[in-house]
Amino acid sequence: MQHLTALLPRVTLKQALIVGGATTPLLAGGAGVLAILLYLMAAGGTATPAPEQPIAFDHSVHAGDAAIPCEFCHRGVGSQAAATVPSVEQCMFCHSVVKTDSPQIQLLQAHWDTNTPVNWARVHRVPDHVRFVHAPHIQAGVACETCHGDVASMEEVKQVRSLAMGDCQGCHRENSASLDCATCHK
């Protein structure tokens, strides 16, 4: 070490600048590559802003103010993989009488009248190579809020958890759920 420090006083300012100039792009490039790699590793499930929906459905009104249980509309959640969105028909049970003059409800009415499905923008999704089944999670007593956040207070639903692999695993580990890759990966 001494030998190396002995070299230092000989470095002039000019040399230091040159060294700096020569190495900075190198270091910056390396850091950039590293950053990209890190991003790629972590990517695939970061929290996203709320997407724009074809109909401005307000969860805070339904799940919050009206305190409708989640399962009332998302019927599949307790029994199968997808929580499922309700059919237009189900919306119309209430909205054929409730707030029919609202412009958003009229959008819904239009779908009902023309027999066209509503293409909701998907908020939560896991990649194609992941199998997520709602039913066992509900069975295990995991509350909807655990993963979806406090939807009852959201006007627009957005993803609040990263739902990346590590996120899932952390929860599985805490709850002694299976950590076998094949549990989730298909």
Binding site: S79, R131, A135, D180, C181, A182, H185, K186
Partner: protein, 278 residues
């Protein structure tokens, strides 16, 4: 062994010629657990290819177009190998379905640098597609050559993509794929059983190949479940059972039952050409 349960549990090692030195996962990991396996009765197998197409359909296997067959890049997770014996008029064709053997001691698992293939605690040799980086080391290590590499992104011309099974990933280019014992079906049954608060029933899980096999030559089972019919069958037919390429010591999860040929002379010279008289 005191109980037949234990016997069944260790059968896989018993049939392995190196069983003494290589413990099965049943012995080391989960003596009470599940070990999925299959009993293949070669005396029933007719080579009719029903399992091959069933597998293609269930697992979103890419179309094996002619060019791919010519390049030997066709993918068939289960394939019927046909071997000849003798010459006309005493030629005999022997069929054997070869699929991933889900070895208890799998050569492919140790060599994967990224754990894309590993052994799970149900005796399955699992391939995690998204983890795979495509070194193909596992395919080299596999003595059964049942691992297939994706040289292309598979394509299904519209509207053929409608038939794709949503429970199975469509594998992209650059990764290895292989028989999963229809793990999506196993998982589905497991989730169903869990939801209904019960154990999986014996014979409830059926991979596509075994389900379609007209002669029931392929029987899927839990090798550790002494109650399962195939396990009992393998027990009863112990004299006929063998595992493929035993000397590799891979402890396969697939037990083959020998083909019965009443005219076979099992002496040394049984395969000498017989005088023709045509």
């Amino acid at each position: 062994m005191s109980s037949s349960a234990n016997e069944a549990a260790s059968r896989a090692s018993a049939v392995s010629s190196m069983g003494q030195t290589i413990p099965t996962d049943a012995e080391v990991g989960h003596p009470e657990g599940v070990r999925w396996g299959m009993v293949v009765d070669l005396d029933r197998c007719t080579g009719c290819q029903a399992c091959v197409v069933a597998c293609q359909a269930e697992n979103n296997i890419a179309l094996n177009e002619e060019q791919r067959v010519l390049e030997r890049r066709a993918k068939t997770w289960i394939r019927i190998e046909r071997y000849w014996e003798g010459e006309f008029p005493n030629a005999k064709a022997r069929f054997i379905p070869v699929l991933c053997q889900h070895c208890g001691n799998a050569p492919c698992e140790t060599v994967c640098p990224v754990w894309a293939t590993y052994h799970n605690n149900e005796g399955l040799n699992v391939q995690v597609y998204n983890r795979c980086i495509g070194t193909r080391f596992c395919a080299n290590g596999c003595p059964y050559s049942v691992r297939y590499f994706n040289f292309w992104n598979p394509e299904w011309p519209e509207p053929m993509n409608n038939q794709l099974n949503p429970d199975v990933t469509v594998r992209t280019k650059g990764i290895i794929e292989k028989c999963t014992f229809c793990i999506q079906r196993i998982n589905r049954v497991q989730v169903t059983a869990k939801t209904e608060g019960r154990e999986i029933r014996s014979g409830e899980v059926q991979p596509a190949c075994a389900q379609s096999c007209p002669t029931s030559a392929l029987v899927f089972c839990d090798l550790n479940d002494p109650e399962s019919a195939p396990a009992q069958l393998a027990e009863a037919e112990a004299g006929r059972s063998y595992t493929l390429l035993e000397h590799f010591g891979t402890d396969p999860g697939i037990i083959y039952l020998k083909k019965v040929d009443p005219h076979a002379e099992l002496e040394e010279d049984s395969h000498a050409p017989v005088e023709t008289h045509a």
